[in-house]
Structure formats: structure tokens, C-alpha cells
Amino acid sequence: MNKIWWKILGSVLVLYTAIAGLLSGVPHLAILNETIRNLYFHVPMWFAMLTLFSISVFYSVKYLLYGKESDDIRAIESVNVGIIFSILGLITGAVWAKFTWGQFWSFDVKQNFTAVAILLYFAYLVLRNAIDEQQKRAKISAIYNIFAFPMMVVLIMVLPRLSDSLHPGNGGNPGFNSYDLDSRMRAVLYPAFIGWSIIGYWIYTIRFRIRTIENKQNS
């Protein structure tokens, strides 16, 4: 965990996407204009969030199976970091929407559903605060976390595809794939996914380490 190479890898990838994202050639589209470059910064936030929430579910399952306290801390901390990324994704999306669709909140399905998905994880945090006993809290919140995750996936990945959306790739709108996510953009977007996920994972490990020390001091 303390090996440094993956942290450097993450930093290099993010740096690369920032530089290449601003300098590389992009398709010329009306309305979007240069904001298409936001794709490299807005979408990876969601990808990082999904990665962190998946990590959380993984550790929740592990907690239910083995009952180790550290797994519970891992689950909660990765949710905390995931929520930060989701809020960043929401705000950048809102700004982007303001200058392309005209409003900060365009009542686009994807916007609404991601807001609901964030609510889902806020409910998880509320649930944690509602229970005092440590073991009980860990168990019940792990169960809710696993229960909520498939719903979140349905909300973010499946439902928007069924309804009309302003986002590309949903409800009749052609996806970026079909006309403009050419190889140049892929070469930046995919490293951005990996890079930001690694950064998210890094922050999560830091939070986890702080939390374990705190718990040790308090006990």
C-alpha cells in the first residue's frame, strides 16, 4: 500500500490528461465548441466516483464475511471520498450545462438521477450516524451499502438510456462514440479515467490511515 509507483503513475496520467486535454485536437462541433474538452475533466469524476463506490461495496462484502473492523473503516472512507468526486462532477456538469444547454440545472435525466444517487449515499451516512453501537453500525450500514449499490448502478447507467436526455448517448441522442470520440479523444479520455481513479484511491488510503490512527488514539 505504501509503494510509491502507482501514486506517480496516477499523477503522471492526470498531468498528461490536463496537458493533452487542453492542447490536442478535438472535433469541431457547434454549440459545444471548445467545451468538448470538458469531457476529459467532467466524466472522469464520475468514473472515479464509481471506482470508489465499488471499492466500498467490496469492503462491505468483506466485512460481512469476516467481520474485521478495518474493512468497515475502508468502506466508509471510500464512500466519503466518492461523494467528494460526485459533487465535483455535479458542479462541473452544471457549469458546462449552463454554457451549452442554457441552464445550470436543465432537468436532464442524468443530472436528476445522479443527484438521487448522491442522496442514496447521504442516506448511508445518515444511517451510520443513527446507530451508536460500533459493531451494529458496521453490519447494518454494510448491508445497506450492498443493497444500495445495484440501485445506484440502475440509476446512473441504465435508466438514462431509456429516457430522453441532453447527454450524448442517451435516448436517441447519438453517443460520442458514433461521431466524434475519435482515437485522439480516446487517447486522452481513458488515461484520464485511470488517472483520476488512482488519485481518488490515493486520497481514500490517506483518509483510511488517518481514521485508523484516530480510532487507535480514542480507544
Binding site: A123, F147, L159, L162
Partner: protein, 219 residues
Amino acid sequence: MQLLHQVKYLIKKEVLLEWRSKYALNGVLLYVVSTVFVCFLSFVSIAPVTWNALFWIIMLFASINAVSKGFLHESKGQQLYIYTIASPLALIISKTVYNVLLMMLLTLIALFFYVMVFDYVPQDLGLYIIATVLGSLSFSTIFTMISAIASKAGNGGMLMAILSFPVIIPVLIVLIKLTKNAIDGLDRSVSLDEIGLLLIINALVAAVTLLLFPYLWRD
């Protein structure tokens, strides 16, 4: 075989208890009837879209009340007794099946009453009834699990609402879309997507519930 036997026994017990007091049935029916009546008195005539949304909102609160009763209002002694005679799997299956039956009965009665009071019949009544059956199915599967979580967590009612709303919203959105199709009398093949999605969500929730409930139940 043993499981089936236990499930049958537990369902019989639930039905018998309910039949003796008729608390849930009468209480929720009264709730639905009075809300429908209040809505009628305040709206008098109503656009089909609002009619539809109103129906689902009424059913949402009715089902939260009806289903959450199952776990939240059970005393510690009762739970302990059931714990000794049946496996957790049998318990959750029986509760879910019983809630599904109860909710189907309730929604069908409510729909009948609602149609009668507002004097408005959706164009494709058959599809609408299918949708309400699917809706009561998904409401009861989701709420049963969440009420179990909330009851284990201690303070029931408030937590129940916080935990269940983000989870139920995707289902509600699909349901409203499906019933909107039924109201407009669209061809049924258009609605197959939504029906499939609802069935998938239900299967997912059922699978997760069956996997998780044994962990939740044992202390």
C-alpha cells in the same frame, strides 16, 4: 422442503394475525380512501398526467405505511420467538410474499376506487393494471428489506423514509413512465422495455435481499 414448510407456516401466521385485527388492511384502506377523496375535493377535474402522478404518490405513502408495519411494529419478544422456530430465509421470504399479496390487494382496491371517484379510465386499462401489480410487487420487495434494516437500526419511522426514498425513486420513475404509456394508449410493445426493467430491478432486489437478510437477522 423444510424451508417451504416454514414459509407456508409463517405466511399463514401473518395472515391469521392480520385477519384477527385487520389493522393494516383497514387502516391503509381508510388512508387511501380518504386521501383520494381529499384529492378529488381539491382538484375536482384533473389532467391525466396529474391523475397518474397523484395515484403513485398516494400509493407510495400507503405502501410505506402498510409494509413498514411488518418489521417495525414487532416486539423484541415476537422477533425472538420467530428466531427460534424458523430460519431467516423463511422469515424474509414469508414476509415479502405476504407483503406482496397485501399490497396487490390494496393497490387494486385503491385503483378501483380512484377510477370510480375521478370518473376517469385510462385508455389501456389492462396495461395499467399490469403496471400497478408490478408496482406493488416492487414497492413491497424493496420496502420489506428496508424496513428490516430500519428496525434493526433502532429508530424506525424517520430512518425508514430517509433510506427508502432514494431507492424507490428509480422504480417510481419507471412506473410513472409505464403508466403514462397506458394512459396514452400506446401500443403495448412500446412498454416492453419498462416492464423488463421493472422485472430486472425486482429480481435484483430479491436476490440481494435473500443474500443479505441472514446477516442482518443474526445478532
